[in-house]
């Protein structure tokens, strides 16, 4: 199996595939007098496209816009400030994914708070937070629950464990995001003209291929579910170009080895048991109705937002244009801070912090060639 998987980065396959995509895109250009435009919704796609060099190689052939699929980047500044503010209380252990550590709050980042002596722990597996809660009964353990549909089931699993163990010192600060509402927002706002979506492979594991039929039925736009290795990405971009060339709107599951038609129902059921839809604020967009999940009232004892009284303050204003970047309105290079005041070492906006943020990918992988 490992050998089969390794084929996805075999130069003998991926080099001619890249040329094939270029040729097809050239044909598109001849027919429509413009480059085809696609949005890669997922931040891991942004990262993989830039790291492998696909984005750079296709620059003159296909316009690939990075979409709102980096959980850290789309989180509203007020939520970020609130999560950092949580670390200020006494007897608290903040548990988080590494992604959140360097995100700049209006005042500090969690990394800076840890340096000052606050107990902030980076976990690889969120379920470790349960053990931390059991081992530290005198402390309040708060998990910072960010993520899309791939990660939310794992937050639901935390809820299940906490419920089973009747923990009274454990809670989650939920600020999760759902894919469909933001795609619909983008399509309805009409701010970005697209020929199709490169759909997120790992979110689709949970959601399933059928979840995307609304793209074709309601908006007549294509979507191809893609994997993350070079051959997988090139194959999916090639399919998007072909659909656009043919003027066809269709959903293609181009990651069938892990994505099924119906998705992972065990994961969705667990989500449905503990969480319910809520309005969520997205950076640069504002509130989108029913675009996130929050803890159901029956489980309010695990809801950190209800347990701790955090006053949300008006965030510090910066010239950061992450909000426009995540919806594809502008490219990172068009932000006046990009690469100057804002770099991965001293980030001003979240898109520069997260490894999969568009600004970070543009800074690390696209900049400085020549």
């Amino acid at each position: 199996m490992r050998e089969i998987l390794n084929q996805s980065s075999n130069p003998e396959i991926i080099k001619p595939m890249l040329e094939l995509v270029m040729e097809k895109a050239e044909m598109f250009k001849q027919r429509f007098h413009r480059k085809p435009v696609f949005m890669e919704v997922c931040g891991s796609h942004t990262h993989a496209l830039a790291k492998s060099g696909i984005k750079q190689a296709l620059k003159e052939y296909v316009r690939l816009i990075s979409g709102p699929g980096c959980p850290v980047c789309v989180t509203d500044q007020r939520s970020i400030d609130s999560m950092i503010e949580l670390s200020q209380g006494e007897n608290r252990i903040i548990c988080t994914f590494g992604d959140m550590m360097r995100v700049p709050g209006s005042k500090y980042s969690l990394m800076e708070e840890r340096t000052k002596g606050k107990d902030v722990r980076v976990l690889y597996a969120p379920t470790d937070a349960i053990k931390i809660a059991e081992d530290n009964p005198e402390q309040e353990i708060i998990f910072l629950g960010i993520g899309f549909e791939t990660t939310i089931p794992i937050l639901a699993l935390l809820m299940q464990e906490a419920e089973k163990k009747q923990l009274t010192n454990f809670s989650i600060w939920m600020t999760t995001k759902l894919v469909r509402p933001v795609l619909e927002y983008l399509l309805q706002s009409g701010e970005v003209a697209l020929d199709g979506f490169l759909l997120p492979g790992h979110v689709s594991i949970v959601l399933g291929e059928e979840n995307y039929s609304f793209l074709v039925d309601d908006y007549h736009i294509s979507g191809v579910i893609a994997g993350f290795e070079p051959a997988e990405l090139l194959s999916s971009v090639q399919k998007l170009v072909q659909l656009a060339y043919d003027g066809e709107a269709k959903i293609i599951n181009d990651y069938p080895s892990v994505v099924t038609k119906k998705g992972n129902s065990a994961a969705r059921n667990l989500m449905a048991r503990y969480f319910e839809e809520c309005d969520e604020a997205w950076r640069g967009i504002g509130t989108i109705a029913k675009s996130g999940l929050d803890i159901k009232p029956a489980y309010r004892q695990f809801n950190a937002k209800l347990k701790f009284n955090i006053k949300q303050q008006e965030p510090r204003k910066t010239k950061c244009r992450c909000g426009e970047i995540i919806v594809g309105k502008i490219d990172p290079e068009e932000c006046p801070l990009f690469g100057k005041a804002c770099t991965p070492r001293k980030p001003i906006g979240p898109c520069m912090v997260s490894d999969e943020g568009s600004c970070s990918a543009a800074y690390l992988f696209m900049r400085g060639l020549g």
């Binding site: 790992h202 181009d254 892990v258």
Partner: protein, 78 residues
């Protein structure tokens, strides 16, 4: 959006399993893939196996890529 890593199940318990990624091992939860078996490859995200990799489909994808590459040299593309 989400890092997901292919990993092989080398030890299976009721709710968890030990997976191997090219010689590095870690514990993962398998509650979302209850039907998983020893030797299967899974996609791991944040310490949980979230999908079983279907070997047949994985092979078919490779065959499709190879065909794409071969066809490019012999036929007009549109």
């Amino acid at each position: 959006m989400c890092v997901g890593v292919p990993a092989k199940i080398i030890e299976k318990h009721e709710y968890s399993a030990v997976v191997d990624v090219m010689g590095s091992q870690t514990n993962v939860g398998i509650i979302f893939v209850p039907e998983v078996e020893l030797g299967d490859y899974v996609i791991v995200h944040a310490g949980q196996a979230i999908s079983i990799i279907n070997e047949q489909y994985a092979k078919e994808s490779v065959v499709e890529w190879r065909k794409m590459v071969d066809a490019r040299n012999s036929e007009p593309i549109f």
